[in-house]
Amino acid sequence: MSQILTILRHTLRDGLRSRVVYGLGAFFALAGWMMLRLGGDGGKALLSLLSLSLALVPLVSLTYGASHLYQARRFIGLMLAQPVPRHTVFLGLYAGLSLPLALAWAVGVALPLLATGAVQDPQALLLLLTAGVSLALIFSAIAFWVSMAVENRLKGLGLAIGSWLALAIGWDGMVLMLSYQLADYPLEGPVLALCLANPIDLARILVLLRFDLGAMMGYTGAVFRLFFQGNLGIALAGLALLLWVALPLGMAWRAFSRKDF
């Protein structure tokens, strides 16, 4: 236990001093402050921050995470040459990568909203924070998996950016195309499955279930709300996001435990 705390203390210290981490927090603090200044109330600013976070948190987690870990390979080798179990090094590295990103984003988002007293609905802010922190944890884990499973750094970064493009940009198009092409069939079941298969979509639905904004829900969100309304829906989306952290993290551990350094 003391070994993992030691590694965690040092990797967190390294992460919390990173310019990317500071930049992420500062960007969201500035964005939130500007949205409030430009006339939006707390709810509107929160939703605008949600849209921005759904795109940027996964992208930054993937690209920063993957490039950080490719660069850290020789350091990982040095740590594994010490009398430390592999899983200890793995957990220390993952926490040191994902927690500073999640923390910087959460502080950046919460600071202007709380400082100006603009948030009327604390549960909505809590849901936004849960969604963003989950995305940072999930996409850091995907970055970890990519950097361990793909030897070539350029290919790994390409795969990381490709997976972001597919989940953040291409997904809605695919759902729309499917719903158009298969309009004659009952699609609720498959769409619900698709919604659970994309953590970005899940994070969006998690927050929007708190608001009554049909326009932002999209097709998948509308179907999700049809099945699971109110707190049940929020709990289910939250649980699905938690499972989404475990899935890539499990894959990353599998790759890490078998890798030659």
């Binding site: 030691t6 350091f75 040095l78 594994l80 040459a81 009398p83």
Partner: protein
């Protein structure tokens, strides 16, 4: 101290080790030599558990290295090209490695320490004082190499595994490190060292392991190899063997 039995490792189409069996005798400096791609670094990494062999066995003090991380208390490692987290200071990295080793030592109190009951550093030859507070980002390759050497020696391990330890060091630092190795040799420490600078190894090594294309071409004393090839210098002896192999 270490026995390697029929170690084989393949990376894709490349067979890095083809059934390597060697010994690293206790209390001696063993040199691992061979051209680029002969399997030296892979063999060292197999000993440390960084690379998992496809088949074969590594024994430490007669017991198999069966993946128990505490067995690495016996080994201090200096990598060929070190890399450390950019945003940590030299002192923090030294503290990180020292702390995880101390935690392991508390769980394995019978692990030997070198030298007994004496904290060990390279401070005499590479003073760390002014470096301790400096961030690792932006330090020169030679300075990073000195940090790597400090980490290996501070481990207090009875066996040092050094991969190209003098690469990147200036002549003064390199000469200091060789002096320190000679001192350790005189006190009976076990060292496994790989280097392309064969003149250095001729000064240091008593035992030679010569790898060629993933196989052991020669294992034995330095004097034995010189006698076998009829050459006065290690460099010439190795060149002769490689010319014969190429012919």
């Amino acid at each position: 101290m270490i026995q390697v039995e029929q170690l084989a490792k393949r990376f894709g189409h490349v067979e890095a080790l083809k059934g390597v069996s060697v010994n690293v005798p206790r209390g001696q400096v063993s040199a691992l030599i061979g051209p680029n791609g002969s399997g030296k670094t892979t063999l060292m990494k197999c000993l440390l558990g960084l690379v998992r062999p496809d088949s074969g066995l590594v024994r430490l003090e007669g017991l198999p290295m069966d993946g128990d991380p505490l067995r690495r208390l016996w080994m201090g490692y200096m990598p060929q090209v070190p890399h450390y987290p950019d945003n940590l200071s030299v002192g923090e990295v030294l503290d990180l490695v020292a702390s995880v080793r101390l935690a392991a030592r508390l769980r394995c109190p019978h692990a030997p320490h070198w030298p007994q009951d004496e904290p060990e550093t390279l401070d005499g030859i590479f003073p760390m004082g002014e470096l301790l507070g400096r961030r690792l980002r932006g330090l020169s390759g030679g300075t990073l190499q000195r940090v790597g050497a400090e980490l290996a020696w501070r481990s207090g391990a009875p066996l040092l595994v050094l991969d190209e330890p003098t690469a990147g060091l200036d002549p003064v630092a390199s000469s200091h490190l060789k002096d320190r190795l000679l001192e350790d040799r005189a006190r009976g420490r076990t060292v496994l060292i790989s280097s392309h600078v064969l003149s250095d190894l001729q000064e240091l090594a008593e035992h030679l392991i010569f790898l060629l294309d993933g196989r052991v071409h020669y294992e034995g004393s330095l004097a034995g190899l010189l006698e076998q090839t009829g050459e006065p210098r290690l460099e010439r002896a190795v060149a002769r063997i490689m010319r014969q192999e190429a012919a």
